[in-house]
């Protein structure tokens, strides 16, 4: 019986200070299958995979891979055994080229001295990309790639090891539908070659598209393993959260007020051109478009991260000048950025520190910072967002990806903004928490806040927005009201076509 599994992990236990991340977890994966690993934020998915790779040492349990039993792995031998992983958080070396990143540590060398044969390296990369149907210049520096392309490079790297088992930890959190379809073709190819894939995601639909089997974890404990064909979406969700979840997009019917913010002919050379729109009090304005269509750039530019070359921003009908984010915050704006590691988190600092930075002025008293009030307010946010952390003093680097995102959301809620920009607000967030965040967004709108939400997730855009602006190649391609918006129409506009549907 045992032989039919490529990988068996049994009774895995892993404890961190104050957190039991895994207790008695079992995972069995057959060769030539795609095995989805599901669970809420902080359920222990990434931790389990890091135990498998040898990044963490499990406190208990055994790992059987290819019929050999290991008590623990170490990172070098796991690669040699044929296990590779696409990590949840991208970690490219920014000033090295794509090819150098892919072949890091196993560069093709020339001669006795061991010069790197960069020409060969580039060729090998091209070869690899060709096989996978990826179109990225191997000599580009990683910093110059979009997040989506970085993700594709990361995927290609993992595949290039010719592993027997590839772990993909939320590989689609930063890519669009087109690239997802591409990735799925690659996965299907791998499956045919007999490679096993462990696939972690928070996107339900993907599971049913790609997975053969599903294992669910809840709070560090093993719940069940099922065939994907045996269960449906609701069944899977209730396995994950332990209860039924009904209303996915709890959009409230909110009375929409007067115009809160208007932008006119905003232009930033090379990024976007003549973008105009308005957002009203109580309104959720969705911004849709393909990766690289300038959505993020527009809102970051409004927020002063890199001010526009020309154009006007009006708040409450009056023109405002925003030279840097400080000014935007002053006016009552908040910005949840797209890339939480790059421009969001202070990794060495505590959860509380991470929460209070943009509202720190509210926690001052005459002689300094009022830590008591800080703690009270942060505790409130922690409860409201059901943030999973042993304490507010925990360093944020030790939180699971989804919980890190919640810390950032808390940061902006603490500033009590009137205009809130949300860039991919639910990236990497589990279904339960996702609907919490949607509920919260709705509630903020009800309080009369103006909300601008960039999202690549079609259901989210359609489900949450009162109005949708669609961008195409740096220009506004069109605008759809809630009742006129459909997935097809958004896609048409995003592709730069005229509306026909």
């Amino acid at each position: 019986m045992a032989e039919e599994y490529l990988l068996e992990m049994e009774h895995i236990r892993k404890e961190f200070p104050g957190v039991l991340a895994l207790s008695d977890v079992t995972l069995k994966v057959k060769a030539g299958t795609v095995h989805a690993l599901m669970g809420e934020n902080g359920a222990g998915k990434s931790t389990l995979m890091k135990c498998l790779l040898g990044i963490y040492r499990p406190d208990d349990g055994i790992i059987r891979f290819d019929e050999v039993i290991y008590e623990e792995m170490d990172i070098h031998s796991s690669l040699n055994l044929g296990i590779s992983m696409i990590h949840q958080e991208l970690s490219p070396i920014p000033y090295m080229t794509v090819a150098e990143n892919i072949f890091l540590g196993r560069e093709p060398i020339r001669g006795k001295i061991g010069w790197v044969n960069s020409k060969k390296q580039t060729e090998m990369t091209l070869e690899l990309f060709k096989g996978l149907g990826i179109d990225i210049d191997p000599d580009m520096k990683m910093v110059d790639l979009s997040i989506a392309n970085m993700q594709m490079v990361e995927i290609a790297t993992a595949i290039s090891y010719n592993s027997k088992l590839i772990i993909m930890d939320e590989p689609t959190s930063a890519i669009t539908e087109k690239e997802v379809a591409h990735l799925f073709r690659m996965i299907n190819n791998l499956r045919e070659k007999g490679v096993a894939v462990i696939y972690i995601t928070h996107k339900m639909d993907e599971v049913f598209q790609i997975a053969d089997e599903v294992t669910v974890l809840r709070d560090g404990a093993f719940v069940d393993t099922k065939l994907a064909s045996e269960i449906d979406k609701n069944g899977l969700i209730s396995m994950m959260v332990g209860r039924e979840l009904t209303n996915f997009f709890p959009k409230l019917d909110v009375e929409i007020g007067e115009v809160k913010m208007e932008v006119r002919n905003l232009t930033l050379k090379g990024k976007f051109e003549n973008v105009s729109f308005e957002v009203r009090r109580g309104e959720i304005l969705g911004i849709a478009g393909l990766m690289g269509s300038g959505r993020t750039e527009v809102i970051e530019s409004i927020f002063g991260v890199y001010p526009p070359d020309s154009g006007e921003i009006l708040v409450d009908g009056k023109p405002v000048k925003i030279d840097q984010p400080m000014d935007a915050i002053e006016i009552g704006m908040g910005l949840l950025t797209e890339d939480r590691k790059l421009s969001g988190l202070f990794l060495p600092l505590s959860v509380m520190d991470n929460m209070v930075y943009s509202s720190i002025g509210n926690f001052m008293n005459k002689i300094g910072l009022n830590f008591k009030r800080m703690k009270v307010e942060c505790e409130k946010q922690r409860k409201a967002l059901s943030l999973k952390t042993p304490s507010l003093a925990q360093r944020v680097v030790n939180l699971s990806g989804g919980n890190q995102q919640k810390v950032l959301i808390a940061r902006w809620l603490l500033t009590e903004p009137d205009i809130l920009f949300l860039d991919e607000p639910t990236r990497g967030i589990d279904v339960g928490a996702k609907s919490e965040i949607h509920k919260l967004t709705s509630k903020l709108a009800e309080l009369g806040k103006a909300i601008v939400m960039v999202s690549s997730e079609m259901p989210e855009v359609l489900g949450m927005s009162d109005r949708i602006v669609v961008m195409h190649e740096g220009k506004k391609a069109g605008e759809l009201s809630r009742k006129d918006a459909t997935q097809e129409r958004i896609l048409q506009l995003a592709a730069g076509e005229a509306l026909t549907l």
């Binding site: 200070p17 990044i55 970690s91 915050i329 990794l347 680097v397």
Partner: protein, 338 residues
Amino acid sequence: MSDTSVPDTKTGKSFKLKAFVNKYGILLIFIGICILLSVLTISNGTSVFLKFRNIVNVLRQSSVIGIIAMGVTFVIITGGIDLSSGSLVAMIGVLSAMLARNVLHLPMIIPVIAAMLLGILAGSINGALHAKFKIPPFIATLGMMTIARGVAFLVTNGRPVDNLTPSFQQLGQGTILDFGQNFFIPVPVLVFLVVILVSNFLLSNTRFGKFTYALGGNEQAAYICGVNVDRHKILVYGYAGLLSGIAAVVLTSRISAGQPSAGNMYELDAIASAVIGGTSLQGGIGTIGGTVVGTLIIAVMNNGLDLMGVSSYWQQILKGLIILIAVIIDTMRHQVSR
């Protein structure tokens, strides 16, 4: 290539003990060194090291470097570095000594204020070079270090500036709460203490301090959180400059002269103090308490080895080893635990 690059504790049962050692490790090492030196310096039944005079002496000797190290800690927490402090001590020292000469008869406060202003100015220039012209702090402060040392020699023609007013000399040589041989506090130690308290308050209880950590933790994120990054850098380097100015006054007054060669390599001792005290050169991590302990470790080592008659050559070697060991311990603490 992992998404949890710096978890702080290893797995096992002894989390509590581990956490304690992690937090107070350097303090424990300091206490250990003190006990060792106390025992090793016993002669005629009393420990020379533990004598009140000797302890005060250690504190007095550590005060100048200690004051500088406070400012350097801020700079390093932002992810920067300040190489100019030793030369600033020399330059500001000779300039303030010129104002404190007995021939001018100026009240003591004038050279003191001048020194502080000069310090702020020089530090702010460091900060501005880094913030506005995007020069890496290592280079910006290296330039300042060379220039300041040159100025110190230029204005004095290489000769010490002496004959200072008695009131000015009090700053480095005076004492307060003086009960004779058995108890007194030298003014430099008092100044050091005040600088410690102010710095600690600034770093842990104010927005200024929080922003300092933010800059070192993630500059881009700090910017988006509304930190005026450029201004904050200038302020932090300015504060470090201010403390160099204060250190200059204390040193000049203690040695009764402005020496253009004074403060040689002090910047490195100050950086070493901060690093021994657990400040991370990557930025984002560090405390004032840690740096104080780091300063004291260096001072106590120097003193103890002196008392034991170890040659200064050996002292250098041992100091180097201590620095390396401290950094190794620190790196191990922050390494990926499994």
